[in-house]
Structures are given as structure tokens and as C-alpha cells.
Amino acid sequence: MCEYYCAFAGTNGKDMARALKDCDIKPRINIEEADGISFAVSCRHCREPLCVKGCITGALGMDGTVITIDKDRCVGCYTCITLCPYGAISASGDGAVQKCELCVSTSEGIPACVRGCPNGAIVYEERA
């Protein structure tokens, strides 16, 4: 579900089913599963972010503690994909990369994946 909520949050649409109909969705949160285990991985917003430090154009940056991507300045070289130890940055299909930005500009305060998770398994909290 979170993958769908995430993809939907990126569309600015009103109706999820309609917005994502026949779409090959490109969520910024990703479920890994095998043998009955599954977990969701999205950007950890590292304190010492390799992606930001390594970004060759300056498109990746910090907005407070949130790691953001300025798609206009990203040329899609994938250096950040090469650096992220969590595999949390991916190609977006439009040339630039995409990553979780905690819904700072799209959703009301709480990330869409958190609001949408039926089991309350994704939480949004500060960690020391």
C-alpha cells in the first residue's frame, strides 16, 4: 500500500485509483520481501549523507534535516544511486532521480505512506 500512496502523493491527484490507473508506478518507498518477511525502505535522511556530499551538480541538498532533490539541477548521472547504502534513491523516468522527501511539499505534515499504512507499521518520528 505504501508504494501506492507514495506514487499517488507525487501526482497531486485527488483519486488514487484514477491517478495510478494503468501506470507503472515509481514509488520512492520500496518493499523488499522474501520468505514471509517484508519491510519498507525509504530514505533514512542520514546525518552524514553520502548522496548529498557526492552529488556532482549540487542538486541534492539539505533543507533542515530533510534531504531534498532539486530535479531541475539533476542530470541523472546516478552518482547518488552509487553511493546510497540503503538503495533508497531511484531513477524517476524523467531523467532525474527521485527519493523520499518526507512529503514536505505534497502531503499535509505527515508523509502519505505513514497515513496510508493500514497496520501503522510505518511511523514518522525523530531519532537521535
Binding site: E32, E33, A34, I37, F39, V41, R44, L50, K53, G54, I56, T57, G58, D72, R73, V75, G76, C77, Y78, T79, C80, I81, T82, L83, C84, P85, Y86, G87, I89, S90, A91, R127
Partner: protein, 418 residues
């Protein structure tokens, strides 16, 4: 108040400014540069020619950067370092005193001493924004461009100008392309791909001399051209620290980015440091290493305590939409998937994967086409993760956090039950 002087206004220099300001909000920072620009992203010069970015968008940091970081930018060449007096002497004679100095002077193009090079009218290297502008002026729909050097810089140049020239020939003395980045199989595959995009190659070709618009080869064959791009290699720009600090190929630095000379640091393309993937000292002329070594230098210059001991060679580069990601050294046993480039499908998906491992550690990898989650492999190399602590066969097939133990995963993802 401490005085910091940084020579070089590119990735390593900017990393140092940001590093210093993490520790010291007040100290006086002077950045010296001999390029007449705001800090810009050097790798974007080919994208500028391609029309994918504008000069404005090439800026590596916002216009407000120097103001916000309280630093002074001096557009002049640093001519000499007087390490006894702790001063940098500029080309017009003025002296800038320092308490801590960083050399972030980058790379220089290596131009082989070809006979007759002086007879070639339109020629350039491809290292800077000025080079790109110069080349852009020479280009035209009827021009034949000869690029000497089939490495990253030569091939990025070829991609950048493909629509602005009639014909592009890339020449190299070696038999393959991207020798510093790819193995034979990968190089063949990428070569085939680049040929399919219209680039002409002259490999195994040794230039004997130039004669005006002709390159005369050892074989006595001639290649006629209008514009010559010299991209056959780079070397660390170490001259300022000659006889001041220890230099091998690059200026030798330790994991704190210190040189052998007191209060003098070095970072980026001009420096040589330990590559943890091979255990050898190397120049790793890549932007992420430049930034991180620079940041590390800055923090230490300001009195902080920072160790950057995770440097590895690494490349993320795309040509005409084909992505290539590599890291580490290609040493050890090989896990392979994908074709070796001899039966590559021109229309379908290109996919090539090689993982190199030895002594229970991943040393390097090459991914072409599908590069998803490559950073998980990079981190195995950088952290020297013992492969018997993870599900290695699983991760070979598909990079993911699933291959780690539950405890490891919880630690990484911040779960509660660790």
C-alpha cells in the same frame, strides 16, 4: 581569528568551506581561483554543449554561497607558497597569510608531445568551462572532430557535441575504451553502443605526427579533421607543493587530509590517498572523493576531528541514456550476469553485471544498464563487510537489505527491536 586559505574553487575547495563552517563560524576564509567563475560543476561541461544545462544551472552552489559562508573569493592564480612565512603569493605579487592552507588545485590535462601539434589550428583540451566555450565556438554542422583519448572525458565530450558536428572520431592507442572504468567485456558492450549512436572509433591507433588538419598514424594512415580535442589523460596538479610536501603521483595525504607539511592540507584530484578497496595509495580523480576529502580537510583545519578513510574509486556515468556504474577494484573471483558484449542486443535492454570478491570481501563491481540500488554494493566495498555475515548469493542476484541479518537490518532501518 583563524585565517584559512583554500586554493581551488571546485568540489574539494567548496567541501572544505562547508567543513570549516561546521566547526568555526567566524574564521576568515579566502578561496583563490584562477577560473573567472562562480563555483561550477566541472562534469557538466559536456551537458552544457549538449544543451541539457545552462551556464546558470551549472553552478555547484547557490549564488549566495560565498556570502552565506562568509568567505572571500579571489580571482587570481596562486603562484607560490612560502611555507616558512605561511603565506600564499599571488601572481600579481600580493601575499595572503594563512594559519591553515588547503591545496585543492585539481587535475591538469596531459598533452603528449606530439610532433607537429603546433601546426594544428583548432584544438583544445576538455577540462573546464572555458574549454567548453572555446570548443563550442569552433564547432559547426560541417566539422569533423577528432578526439584523442577514449576515456571518460573524451567520450563525454563526444556525447556532448554529437549534434553539433558532422562527424566525430575517437582515437586511442589502446584497443579498448574506458580502460580505467571497465573490463574487456563491458568495454566491448559500451563500444558497440556508442558506435550505434554514430561515433566513429580509431582504436589501436598510434599518432606519429600532426600536419595541419591531418593526424598521421604510425601505420602511415591519415585522419583528416577540422577540430582536435586532446583528452588522453589527466594528472594531479601538484606544482605548488613541490619541495614543500611529499608527492608521489599526487600530493600524499592521510585520512585527515593532512599533507606531510605542517598546517597544509590537500584534497581532491591533486591528492593521493589510500583506496580501501585495493589497500593501495591512489589518485581517485572523482568528484565525490574530492568533496569528501575537502570536507574532511576543512573540519580538521578548523580544529575538529574528522577521519575520511573510506575512499574508493567509483564511477557513475551515462552515455546516450546507457548507465554505467562501477566501484572499487576488479580483483578476485567474479560473479557474472549479462552478455560479454559480443552478442549484445542493440534494441533491447543492455544488462551487464560483474562483481569481484576475494578474502570474504567485495572488492569491486561493474553494472551497465540496470544500476538499481548499486549503493548497497558500494557500501559492502567501502565498509569491507565480511561476506559470510550476509546472504551473499542473494545480494549477488539482487542488491537489497534483505541479505543482511535481521539485527543488521534493524540497525540500518531504525527498528525498535534490535
Amino acid at each position: 581569528m583563524k585565517k584559512y586559505v583554500i586554493i581551488g574553487n571546485s568540489a574539494a575547495g567548496i567541501g572544505a568551506v562547508e567543513g570549516i563552517r561546521r566547526i568555526d563560524a567566524k574564521g576568515e576564509i579566502t578561496v583563490i581561483t584562477n577560473e573567472p567563475y562562480h563555483t561550477y560543476s566541472r562534469p557538466l561541461i559536456s551537458y552544457l554543449l549538449l544543451g541539457k544545462v545552462t551556464e546558470e544551472k551549472m553552478k555547484y552552489r547557490a549564488d549566495s554561497f560565498y556570502d552565506e559562508h562568509g568567505c572571500k573569493l579571489v580571482h587570481e592564480t596562486a603562484a607560490l607558497i612560502d611555507s616558512a612565512a605561511k603565506q600564499v603569493i599571488l601572481s600579481k605579487g600580493s601575499r595572503i597569510p594563512y594559519d591553515k592552507l588547503l591545496a585543492a588545485t585539481g587535475s591538469l590535462a596531459v598533452i603528449p608531445p606530439f610532433e607537429g601539434l603546433g601546426t594544428v589550428k583548432d584544438k583544445t583540451t576538455f577540462m573546464s568551462l572555458d574549454d567548453a566555450k572555446k570548443l563550442d565556438k569552433m564547432l559547426g554542422a560541417d566539422k569533423h572532430v577528432l578526439i584523442v583519448g577514449a576515456g571518460l572525458i573524451g567520450l563525454k565530450c563526444a556525447e556532448g557535441i554529437i549534434k553539433k558536428a558532422a562527424r566525430i572520431t575517437v582515437l586511442d592507442i589502446a584497443s579498448g575504451i574506458l580502460p580505467n572504468i571497465l573490463d574487456d567485456g563491458g568495454a566491448k558492450l559500451v563500444l558497440r553502443y556508442l558506435k550505434s549512436k554514430g561515433i566513429v572509433f580509431a582504436l589501436n591507433a598510434k599518432i606519429k605526427r600532426f600536419d595541419g588538419n591531418n593526424a598521421v598514424l604510425e601505420s602511415e594512415d591519415k585522419i583528416n579533421f577540422d577540430i582536435l580535442v586532446l583528452a588522453s589523460g589527466v594528472r594531479p596538479n601538484t606544482a605548488l607543493l613541490d619541495k614543500i610536501a611529499d608527492i608521489k603521483r599526487g600530493i600524499l595525504i592521510n585520512e585527515r587530509s593532512e599533507t606531510s607539511a605542517p598546517d597544509i592540507y590537500a584534497a581532491g584530484d591533486c591528492a593521493e590517498a589510500l583506496d580501501v578497496s585495493s589497500g593501495k595509495s591512489r589518485v581517485m580523480a572523482l568528484l565525490p572523493n574530492a568533496y569528501m576529502q575537502g570536507e574532511c580537510a576543512g573540519i580538521n583545519m578548523a580544529g575538529g576531528d574528522k577521519i575520511f578513510d573510506k575512499a574508493i574509486p567509483m564511477n557513475a556515468v551515462g552515455f546516450f541514456g546507457l548507465h554505467i556504474v562501477t566501484a572499487g577494484s576488479y580483483d578476485g573471483e567474479v560473479y557474472e550476469e549479462g552478455t560479454d558484449g559480443t552478442d549484445g542486443d542493440k534494441t533491447g535492454e543492455v544488462r551487464y553485471k560483474r562483481l569481484f570478491y576475494k578474502d570474504n570481501a567485495l572488492n569491486g563491481y561493474i553494472l551497465i544498464g540496470d544500476v538499481e540500488k548499486a549503493g548497497i554494493y558500494t557500501s559492502l566495498i567501502r565498509e569491507r563487510t565480511p561476506l559470510d555475515t550476509i546472504d551473499f548469493p542473494l545480494i549477488c542476484e539482487k542488491p537489497g537489505l534483505m541479505a543482511f541479518t535481521q539485527n543488521e537490518r534493524s540497525a540500518k532501518l531504525g527498528g525498535i527491536n534490535t
